[in-house]
Every structure is written in structure tokens, then in C-alpha cells.
């Protein structure tokens, strides 16, 4: 596995058009009813040019009419113009509403898809990005796109239409000058292209800094207790300040470049006026245009340059949206290294599970080998304990069996089938890992216990049943609000032992065929300790169990013990046999016996 394979892409590398294409593929709702929206926008754009035309008509045929000012005609003109304006305004409002509807629907799809993809990625990939930064990818990055789609899309459309209308009108007066005006903008277009790339790079930097900033804030918020207890608020603040300052600097850099690009558009637009004055007058002198045509043309040029400036502005904003879009698409494009075969997977019917590791190697990306040629079997219905020092690779074994990641070489077999061929949904039903420290959501005890339940049903009753089955009813009854007791953020209102109990109830409700237990090392109060032991006994009853053991008592009670040292299985057998073998396990056992006497 190469270094980049497992990492979350900081941003997609697609070009602008490819990003738009891919973006609209992910969110097809963005294009819903687009034809009607565009038609309405055309009407709205007409509403925008009606006033200059009305001014010109009033002056030429109303006020300067032969025979003096024609009030009646002007009133008529104004009335018609007002009507067109009103129709345009209504269309414009309707266009806005339609854009809001379709963009929010499209971006909802994008958000959800990116969110889901984060969970589908392997644990290794998830850990390459800070949580706060991940949050920014499904929140503020999407907001950037939504701002643009709702405002920029329509502006680009209206500006484009205005440019076309103005060009046609200008050509009507003088095709030579029209050509000239267009030629003047050619250098701008040429310069704009590479500049837009740099604008994009700077906006991308802003998005990344922003994500990093949220990562720093997230650490300060989650680690509030430690920060307070050690009085390291100042140091933490320095880290946060640096990330906030970095965000500000990135913003200023992006804005300054955008200001320059926009100003160059303004400059060209106004230089065009000078060119038209000079060249137009020369043309007039040679008799190519009349004075009236030239004056009308000068008026029309301004109808042309306005939308051109607006278009450069929209293109700048587009770069911002593209930067956000690329970051969200970057999540979606990050390959899922643990591939789900889906419904094509081999059938893996429920029942006592048998697990084998055959010649399994594993190394973390860029890391030394963690496991080497590991062979190990958990026969159906039996219990196996893995023991070894911290860093020996025993936790990795559990993660491989749960298929949080795939081995670098060799295979993990579940009832003879390669894990990679088993549908993940089935695997998660059959194999459940109980981690050392289970995560609790901010909610009630019952909600947390019922968390793993998939199918519809009476959660409350099932939780009750599970609590009774594991002999935890006395504990729950002791709590002030019973199952409705709130557990606080990350379960902080409960003790470590109580959090373990919740994890065990979850595992019981998930009712797996194979239980992977990463034994908790924490000592807890005696009452809870006894409860945990009892609950574990009834939980493992009749199930295949693979335990990452931290206590020799667990190893002693297991059907088989596997001793891992430096990623290699060094001893394997029943407790008594291993003690008799007088090897590493026997040494551990002696140390333990001497300690507890």
C-alpha cells in the first residue's frame, strides 16, 4: 500500500469543468428544471436592459420629437417599461426561489454522500484527517458551493445574456467598433485564465486553513478539562491563534488577488471607452460612422462593459466554490481500501463462526511490519485469547478480523470464506468488536444501548431484556432515572466501568456469531467489576470469542492461548500446555503468580 492510497485527498485534482461535471453528477438535483429557470432568467435579463432603452427612446422620440415633447407618448413608454420591469422582477424572484430549491436539494445530496463516504473509508484513512477538518468538509465547504450556485449561477447567466444583447445592438450601429471592443477584451481573457488558476489555489488554501482551524478548536473544546487542569490555556491558545491567523492571512491573500483581477476587468472596460472615442472619431472623420451612431455606440458600450465586469466577479467567486467543491469531492473520491463486495459476496449464513488467519502479514502505511506470517484459528464456538506485550500486534489481529483493514498478505477466513468476499453488512452482523473504550453519544442510557439495533421493533423492551439477560438490572435500577439517565457528551457522566457495561449491552443486542473483545485494562469499582465479569460470561456463552487479553485469568479460562511477540506467533496451545512448555507464556505466568501472592 503506498502512502497516498490510504490518505484522504486534501482536495480533488479535477479541473474546473471536470469539477462542475462531477459535481452535477453527484448532485443531479442542481440541474432539475434548469431549462425553465434559464427561460425565466432570460425574461429577467430583458427587465434589466429595458430602462436604458426607455431612456434612449424617451429622449429621441418623446422629448426631442418634432413638434415638441410628447407627454402622452412618454407616459405610454414608461407604463410599458414598468410592466416589463415588474414582469422581470417577478421572474427574477421566481428564478431565485427555483435556484434555492434545486441547489439546496443538490447540496443536501452532496453533504450526505460525503458524510456517508467518511464512514465507509477504512479506519486508517479516517485517521489521516482531523475530526474538526472532516466536519468542515460536510459543513462550510458545502456552504461555499451553495452561496455560489444561488448567486453566481444566475449572475453568470444574466451577464452572458446582457453581453449578447449589447453586442447585437452595437453591431447594428457599427460592426467595426464592435469588433474592436471585443478585441480589447481578448488580452483580458488571456491574462484571466492563469490568474483564475492562482485565485483557485489561494481559495483552496483558505479552505484548508479553515479546516485546520476547526481541528484546533475541536481539540481545545474536547480537551477542555486537561487544558484547565494543567493551566495550559495559553499554550493551547497560541496554537489556536496561529491557526486563526493562518486562516486570516490566507483569506487576505485570496481577496487581494481577486481585487487585482476584478480591477483589471474594470480597467479594460474603461480603456475600451477611450479606444472607442479615439477610433470612433477617426472612423467618423473618414465617414464610416455618423455622429448619431457614434453617440449611441458610446452609450451601448457601457451596457456591454457592465456585465463583463460582473462576469469576472462571478468567475472569481466560482473559483471559491470550486475550491470548496473539490474538497468535498476529494472525500468522495478517496478510494475505499476496504472494498465491500455487496450482494455479490459469498453467502455467509448465521451460525457458530469459525475464523482462521492464514499467513497474514500486516504493516501500517510507511510503517514497519506489525504482523508477519500469522497463522491462527478460532474453531466454531470456542474461545481464544491473544496475549503479548503492548505493540506486539495483538490489537491489529482483532482489527483485521473485524475487517477495519485488510492484510498486506495472506487471508482472513470466516467459515472458510475470504473476509474480502463477504458482504460487509453480513460481516458486521456476524462479527462485532467491543473496543476497550466504547464511544457514547450524548443521549440517554437506553438510546446508547439500543444504538446497534438495525431492524424496527420495540427498542425499549429489547434493551430491558438485554439488561436483564446480562444481569445488569440491579445496576440500572440504582441509577436515578434508570434507562432514561442522560450519559452526557461522550458518556462523561458515567464511570469507565459503566461505559464498558453499555458496550456489553450493545454487543448483546447485536448478537454476533463471533465476538472480538479488546479487554479493558481499567480497574473499576468492585461492584462494577463483578457485573462486568458476569455480563461477559453470559455474553460469550455459546459464541466464538477472540479476546485480546490483558489478564492472564482470561487466558487461563480460554480454550486456547496465542502468544504474540513482535508480530509473530511464538506460542500456541492451551494454558496448561504452555505453562508446561516453559517458554514466554510460562515466564509471564510465573511473574503473575508471584505478584498476586
Amino acid at each position: 500500500m503506498s502512502d497516498t492510497d490510504h490518505r484522504m485527498a486534501p482536495a480533488s485534482t479535477l479541473g474546473v469543468f471536470a469539477t462542475l461535471r462531477r459535481g452535477t453528477q453527484v448532485s443531479p438535483q442542481l440541474l432539475d428544471g434548469l431549462v425553465i429557470t434559464v427561460l425565466l432568467a432570460v425574461v429577467a435579463a430583458v427587465g434589466r436592459v429595458v430602462v436604458p432603452i426607455a431612456v434612449q427612446q424617451t429622449v429621441d422620440t418623446g422629448i426631442l420629437a418634432p413638434g415638441g415633447p410628447q407627454v402622452e407618448r412618454v407616459v405610454w413608454l414608461a407604463a410599458v417599461a414598468t410592466l416589463v420591469l415588474l414582469v422581470g422582477a417577478v421572474c427574477s424572484a421566481y428564478v431565485n426561489v427555483r435556484l434555492f430549491r434545486s441547489s439546496e436539494a443538490g447540496l443536501l445530496a452532496l453533504r450526505t454522500r460525503a458524510f456517508r463516504h467518511v464512514h465507509d473509508l477504512s479506519v486508517l484513512t479516517q485517521n489521516t484527517e482531523r475530526r474538526g477538518s472532516l466536519v468542515s468538509r460536510v459543513t462550510s465547504d458545502v456552504d461555499t458551493i451553495s452561496l455560489f450556485v444561488q448567486w453566481g449561477g444566475i449572475m453568470l447567466l444574466v451577464s452572458g445574456l446582457q453581453i449578447v444583447v449589447a453586442t447585437v445592438l452595437m453591431a447594428f450601429y457599427s460592426w467595426q467598433l464592435t469588433l474592436l471592443v471585443w478585441l480589447c477584451f481578448v488580452p483580458l481573457v488571456v491574462v484571466l485564465q492563469p490568474l483564475q488558476k492562482r485565485v483557485n489555489a489561494r481559495y483552496t488554501a483558505v479552505r484548508e486553513r479553515y479546516g485546520a482551524m476547526l481541528g484546533a478548536v475541536s481539540e481545545a473544546v474536547v480537551g477542555a478539562e486537561t487544558i484547565r487542569a494543567y493551566g495550559v490555556a495559553d499554550r493551547t491558545q497560541r496554537k489556536i491563534d496561529a491557526s486563526i491567523g493562518g486562516t486570516r492571512r490566507a483569506m487576505v491573500r485570496a481577496q487581494n488577488l481577486v481585487a487585482t483581477v476584478f480591477a483589471s476587468g474594470v480597467l479594460v472596460a474603461n480603456l475600451v471607452l477611450a479606444v472607442v472615442v479615439v477610433v470612433g472619431t477617426h472612423l467618423g472623420v473618414t465617414g464610416e460612422v455618423t455622429a448619431g451612431q457614434l453617440l449611441a455606440f458610446l452609450f451601448l458600450v457601457q451596457l456591454f462593459t457592465g456585465p463583463v465586469q460582473m462576469a469576472t466577479e462571478v468567475l472569481n467567486e466560482l473559483q471559491n466554490a470550486i475550491a470548496g467543491w473539490r474538497r468535498v469531492l476529494g472525500v468522495i473520491e478517496t478510494p475505499v481500501t476496504v472494498v465491500d463486495p455487496g450482494a455479490d459476496g459469498v453467502p455467509s449464513p448465521r451460525g457458530p463462526a469459525r475464523v482462521e488467519l492464514v499467513g497474514v502479514d500486516f504493516s501500517y502505511p510507511d510503517g514497519p511490519p506489525v504482523l508477519q506470517d500469522v497463522h491462527l484459528a478460532v474453531p466454531a464456538g470456542s474461545s481464544v485469547a491473544v496475549v503479548g506485550a503492548t505493540g506486539s500486534g495483538k490489537t491489529t489481529i482483532a482489527r483485521l478480523v473485524a475487517r477495519f483493514m485488510d492484510p498486506s498478505a495472506g487471508t482472513v477466513l470466516l467459515d472458510g470464506a475470504d473476509l474480502r468476499d463477504v458482504e460487509l453488512a453480513t460481516l458486521r452482523e456476524r462479527v462485532v468488536l467491543v473496543p476497550q473504550e466504547g464511544f457514547l453519544f450524548d443521549g440517554t442510557l437506553a438510546q446508547n444501548m439500543a444504538y446497534g439495533l438495525r431492524d424496527e421493533g420495540d427498542d425499549e423492551a429489547r434493551v430491558r431484556e438485554a439488561v436483564d439477560a446480562l444481569g445488569l438490572d440491579t445496576w440500572v435500577d440504582e441509577l436515578a432515572a434508570g434507562l432514561d439517565t442522560p450519559v452526557g457528551q461522550r458518556g462523561e457522566s458515567l464511570s469507565a466501568g459503566e461505559r464498558q457495561l453499555v458496550a456489553l449491552v450493545r454487543a448483546h443486542l447485536a448478537s454476533p456469531d463471533l465476538l472480538l473483545l479488546d479487554e479493558a485494562t481499567s480497574a473499576v469499582d468492585p461492584a462494577t467489576e463483578v457485573r462486568i465479569a458476569r455480563a461477559l460470561a453470559s455474553l460469550t456463552q455459546g459464541r466464538s470469542t477472540l479476546t485480546i487479553a490483558h489478564r492472564l485469568s482470561t487466558a487461563e479460562a480460554a480454550d486456547a492461548v496465542v502468544v504474540v511477540e513482535d508480530g509473530v506467533v511464538v506460542e500456541h496451545g492451551h494454558h496448561h500446555d504452555l505453562v508446561a512448555l516453559d517458554g514466554i507464556y510460562a515466564a509471564m505466568h510465573r511473574a503473575w503468580v508471584s505478584q498476586t501472592r
Binding site: 434555492f100 453533504r111 450526505t112 487542569a229 481585487a259 468492585p526
Partner: protein, 624 residues
Amino acid sequence: MPATATQSRRPAALQGSPATRGVRLVGRALRAHPWVYTAAISISAVFGIATVAVSRVLGWATDEVVVPALDGDEAARDRIWLAGLIVVAVAVTLAVAVALRRVFAGLGFALLQEDHRLAVTRQYLRLPLAWHRRHPAGQLLSNAGADVEASTSVFNPLPFALGVLAMILVAAVQLFRTDVYLAIAALAALPLTLVANVVFQRHMSPAITRAQQLRAEVADVAHESFEAAVLVKSLGTEAREEERFTAKAAELAAANVRVGTVRAFFDPVIDLLPSIGTLAVLVVGTSRVLHGDIDTGDVVAAAYLLTLLAFPVRAFGWVLGEMPRALVGYGRVARVLDARADLPPGDRPWRPTASGARVELDGVTRTVATPQGDLDLVRDVHLDIAAGRTVAIVGSTGAGKTSLVGLVARLADPSAGAVRVDGLDLRDVVPADLSAHIAFVAQQAFVFEDTVRGNVALADPGDPGAASDDEVWDALRLARVDDVVSALPDGLDAPLGERGANLSGGQRQRLALARALVRRPKVLVLDDATSAVDPRIEQAILTGLRSAGGSPTVLLVAYRMSSVLLADEVVHVEGGRVVDRGTHDELLARDPGYRELATAYEQETERRRSEAADEDALEIEVAR
């Protein structure tokens, strides 16, 4: 930055009607960065003047150069290049003004966001834990992110709108000087803008409030869900998480559509008003020309002036359109800024000389408000612990042990009574002295995204008072985690990943212990912090502490008998009160509640004797 300095004196929240609050919001920002905004606004004014100049120069060129030149005026023909150059000069001025206006407006915008973020995150670090428990992490992320953004949204178009205000005033005066009726016709639409804005504010404020709240909730669901990523995987609940997130995100989408719908009608109305004004000028103007009050040029000039004004007036529309969002966003930021830090810092220095400090709890009560009413976590506790003693706090789950020891580390202040070290009330002592001499280790060890050294020393090399590498290694050795660190490829420089993702629970706990030990504290508070540590090692740690640098006073919340037996004396706590205090044997003899607990402990020890050994025992043996 003044935002943090002034916030203690003046509430951040704005008072008054929406209009008043809007003016105040703007006023505060301008005062916070006077130079940036002076520059931005005056350059905007230059821009306004240059815009008018373009039309003036064009008018002059038409009348004095183009038309005469076409009529055959030789002198005018010679002036063609001059006319071109003047237009170029104005164009350059205009472009430079546009660039600078945007640079300064952007600078102000970025600085304001930075100010808010610095102030908000300072509050996060200052506010007590009780406040943090009430506010989910995702919400706080949203306050520092999306809400700050919303609160400054109005400041991007603001300098433009204010800068061209002069231009609008000049134009209005010019209109009135030309003809009163013409001016009235042109400006009649203005009051309508106000009416439209009032209606807009009324509909927009609730819609925006809801949208920003949902934004925070979406961030919260995402944050919690990503923190729970491993659990989600192990139980295969991806679909359930997706559903939970989609439901919240769909609510946000609906709220955004609602906001958009209100905005969708407001913007065209604001755009419409100057156009209507122009048409009114044409009608009224023609009639005035007919009566001979003004001439054609005046009407054309007035109409053209209004066309010019349409864009700046639109800038005002943007400011007004963003104002509800800015006020709501700022309101959410202000709630954080105005949250009261109920742990005001003291100012008396504490320079302990002995290796341990005397700890006194004098009639201490700690009451918290719950939905069910006030609850005493700690009630009328009197304790006097001599310097250098080790005291075990024992009690059943929920007895108030954690709350009690938290008071000694000043994680909270007592509601009544006082906590004193060496005779000084904790509330009077300089916070830096408290954290330098009192170390608190929580049950759940938090690991920073930093190196091993950074996590233990909690300082950067070269910081004043930063622990040396030798001291860090000593602490790691004492906490029995040095072998783990030596095995890491970069040793002390090894990065630990966010939340210490690469460490086991036990390793995290020992790292947190090293963090406490490296400071050579005078008071060491261990809130069940050694639960994952082998009893022998726990003992070795405490004895090591004494031989290394005298004997700190130790408060130890413990569940294990072996830990309890390490203490000089035992305090039995139930229901927030001290039930009894004495040596283990004394309590065993006279305190039936303690006897019951101890029996449970004994049984547990028995059970363990026949069953348990600890990870660490295995490791050390294996390592040999």
C-alpha cells in the same frame, strides 16, 4: 485586539431594535479597525467620484471633441488624442480605486473574523467545565466557524455603500437644484425601500435564526459521528448514522430554502426601485419640459445620474439584505462572549517552599442546578490534610468523589465554604501558580495532537520553565511508560496523532501521569487516574515520587484495595458528605458502610488473586 479587552466591561450582546443593533454592530466594527475602514470608505468615495468623472469626461469629449471633429473642426481633431488620454487617466484612477477599495474592505472583513474567533476561542479556554458540559462540541465549532462568518457578512459591501453615500447625497442636491418636482419624482421610491426593508427584516430574522441553529446542529451531528467512527464501524451502523445526518441536513436545507425565498423577493424589489425612479423622472421631466420649466438636457442628465446611482444603491441593498444574517450570527457569537466565567482569576502569588502543601476544605458545598432542581454534589465537607500526606477518597459510584477532588484542582469553585492550600484560598491565588503546583489527572486521559515531549512538558523547548528532555524522560520512567516511548521511531519527537489515536487506553493514562509528574507538583490529585496501571507500578510511582523530590500531598480517588492501602489515611464519602475519616483499620472497625465497601474490595482482591494480572506485569516481564 480590543474585543477581548473590552468584553469584560461591556456586554457583547447588542440591545435595541434591529435597526439600532445594526448601527451598533457597524459602529463597533469601524471603531475596532478605524484606519482600515477610514481607508476603505474614503477610497470608495474616490471610486464614486471617478465613476461620475467618467460620465463627465465622456460628455465633455462628445460635446467638445467628437461632434465638432465630425463636423470638420480641425482643432477638435487634434484634441482627439487628448480626449483619449484623459479617459485613460480616469480609467486608471477608477481601476486603482476599485482594487484598493476591495483590498481594504477584504482586510477589514478578515480582521473582524479574526477578532471574533480569537475572542470566542479565548472564552472556550476560560469558561468552566460546567459550561462546556452544557454546550456540545459541534455547536462550539459552529460558533467559531459559521456564526462568525455570518456576523461579518455585512462588512464586505459596507465600505462601498458608505463610500458612495457622499455620491448619492451630491446627486440628490444636484437633482433638487435642477428642479424640485424632478427630484421628488426621482427620490419618491426611497421611502418604499424603508418599508420593504422593515417587511424583509420581520420575515428574515426568524428564518435566519433557525437556519444558523440548524447549521450548528448539523456540525454537531457530524462531529459526534466522526468521533464515534470506530464504534460505527464495529457495529456496522453506517446507514443509521447516514439517516441521522440526512434528517438534520434536510432540515437545514428546508430552512435555507425558507431564507432564500424571503431573499428572493426582497432583492428584485430593491433592484426595481431605482428603475422606477428613472421612469418617473422621464414622465415628470417631459411634462416639465413641455411647460418650459427645464430643458431636455436636464432630464437626460437626471436620468443618467439615476442610472449611475443604481449600482451603489444596490450595494445598500446588499448591506440591508445581509443585516439580519449578521445580527443573528453576531447574537450567537455574543452568547459565548457574554457567558460568565465563574472562576475569576485571583491575584495573590503562591510560592510554596516545602515539597508538599497543606490542603484544607472548610465547610465546602458544591451545588449544581439540574432540571430536577438544585443538587448538592458535595455537602459541608471539612477536611484538613497535612502537607505530604497521601489520602484516599473512597465511596460508591456517584458519591461525589470526583466533584470533591475537582474542587482541590479548582476545576470549579465551591458554592459555600472555601478550599485552601498552605492557608491561601484557591480563589485568591494567581491561576498560573495553581496549575504549576497542583496537578490533576483525570480518569479519561486526553492526548493532544503533538509530540510525546509536547504532551508531557505541555510547553515548547525553549519556553521559560519548559521541562528539559532529561526531566521528561525521568517523568516517563516514573510513570513506567518510558519503554513504550523508547520503542517509538522518533522517541520524544514522535507525533501522537489526534486524541492519541495510536496509543492504548493504558498507555494514554500513563502518559497523562507522566504529564503530572514532570511538574513536581506540591499537590497531586489522581481521580481514578491509575485504574489501568498495575498496583505494583502504582506503588512504585508513589514511592518514586517521594524519593525523587520530597513528598507531595496526594489525593487519590481509588477503586482498588491495593491503591487504598497506599494511603496514609482514608476518607469515606457518601452522598457528597464525609462519612468518616481515619486509617483503613480504624474505619474498618467503626464504619459499617466502609466495612461493606472494603468487603467488596476484599472479595474483589480475592477474585483477582485467583484471576487477574495486569497488562503491565506481562509487558515488563516480556520486555526483560
